[in-house]
């Protein structure tokens, strides 16, 4: 598994905390593995919970009509990159 960047670890911690994934530590989430429908056993309602947590924690709104949602929610890495881009866009 590839190593998490600090931003990915931060996001993984948020995911583990908000979904109460007690059997899993943030560091165990493979940044390139599928977040949903894969080994983590997460589904789309978990995705909603993550989106709400991301909105509270980072102030980033993950839009329902974003054309790239499937990719954005595809992995920890993709989601962290999207959040970073959105935050940069907000700060600019």
């Amino acid at each position: 598994m590839s190593t998490q960047t600090p931003a990915e670890h931060d996001l993984a911690t948020l995911i583990v905390d908000s979904l109460h994934l007690e059997q899993l530590s943030a560091a165990q989430i493979d940044p390139e593995a599928p977040l949903f429908g894969g080994e983590l056993g997460l589904d789309s309602i978990d995705a909603l919970e993550i989106a709400l947590a991301v909105s509270r924690h980072y102030g980033i709104h993950l839009r329902a009509d974003h054309p790239d949602n499937r990719r954005i929610f595809g992995s920890l890495r993709a989601l962290a990159q999207h959040i970073a881009r959105e935050r940069a866009a907000q700060a600019a």
Binding site: H20, L48, A64, N69, R70
Partner: protein, 324 residues
């Protein structure tokens, strides 16, 4: 998928009957159209064997005895009449209809703090007639979560009649992720999110609850969504009272759903939600048995999640799972 579940059945009537209902209804008016309901009812009753048997089985449970022929025809007639009424409701508004409404205070109270609420309906009476709420409480922003693909012909027709409808609908066919994010956005805007909580899709997470004397599977998605959104949950149905009369019923099921972390306690909490919903549905059906529009073996467990690939959260809010 086997033909025994609801997803395996095509739309009752198909294009021709819908066209006929629309043509006659809109050109000749509602009264002549209603006269046709008799023959239309009889046609479907004779042609649709599986639905006929499902109706008979359901009525036996609801009435506590074998249903008589006229009761079985009345069940089919109620379905045909509410289908026709949908067309008129959307094409011509509430003209000619009478709506009674109960529980509006509970509904407005649930929406009062502006964080939205979830209205869980069922295939009981007319889900579409809930739109009449707009006339009584225009401040309520109603968003219906519907799977357009499940009844494409009917939805195409309804949308042709009422183009502004599209904006009110969150189309479950967009896929679970987009639908759930859209529900989150609507809740944040203080909307009343309405979805149907009775039918379980193949592969969807479900738990059984007693309904009319026997356990039946109910989807868990509505209750999990309400817990995630932190919104109140209400039961909402528009009971059909015959001849264009509907009784809109709203009642609070939970001001907030808290799901414990531990898996067993979590399952128990979800089971309690489902049981409460089933009990309230049963009460509505005991009042008006002909309102039940699930013409398939509702008590049969759908294929298990293990047997079908797909998002276990699909169902109430999704449509990219397997279909019949």
């Amino acid at each position: 998928m086997s033909g025994g579940t609801w997803q395996g059945r095509d739309e009752g009537g198909g294009w021709f009957a819908l066209w006929l209902i629309r043509f006659i209804g809109l050109h000749a008016g509602r009264r002549p159209a209603r006269l046709l309901l008799g023959p239309v009812t009889l046609y479907f009753f004779l042609r649709r064997g599986p639905e006929r048997r499902a109706s008979r089985d359901y009525l036996r449970r609801a009435l506590g005895r074998p249903a008589r022929l006229r009761e079985r025809l009345r069940h089919f007639h109620a379905f045909a009449a509410t289908t026709l009424d949908r067309v008129f409701l959307l094409a011509q508004g509430e003209r000619g209809f009478v709506f009674e409404i109960s529980g509006l205070d509970a509904l407005l109270q649930a929406l009062a703090d502006g964080r939205g609420a979830l209205l869980v309906g069922a295939h009981v009476g007319s889900f579409e007639a809930l739109r009449a709420l707009a006339g009584r409480a225009p401040q309520v922003r109603l968003r219906l979560v519907l799977d357009r693909q499940q009844t494409p012909a009917l939805n195409g027709l309804l949308e042709a009649l009422a183009p502004d409808l599209r904006g009110q609908v969150i189309d479950a066919a967009r896929g679970p992720l987009a639908v759930l994010l859209a529900m989150g956005e609507a809740a944040r805007a203080g909307a009343l999110l309405a979805l149907l909580g009775d039918r379980t899709r193949a592969g969807e997470a479900a738990l059984e609850a007693p309904l009319l004397g026997a356990p039946a599977p109910f989807p868990l998605a509505p209750w999990r969504i309400a817990a995630v959104l932190g919104v109140p949950v209400l039961l909402g149905c528009a009971q059909y009272r015959g001849h264009g009369r509907y009784h809109l019923r709203f009642q609070l099921l939970a001001s907030r759903i808290e799901l414990p972390r531990a898996p067993q306690a979590r399952q128990a909490a979800l089971a309690a939600c489902v049981a409460r919903y089933a009990a309230e549905l049963e009460a509505l059906l005991r009042e008006n048995p002909y309102d039940w529009f699930n013409f398939y073996d509702f008590w049969q467990a759908p294929p298990s999640a293990a047997a079908a690939a797909g998002d276990p959260a699909a169902g109430a809010a999704a449509a990219d799972g397997p279909r019949g």
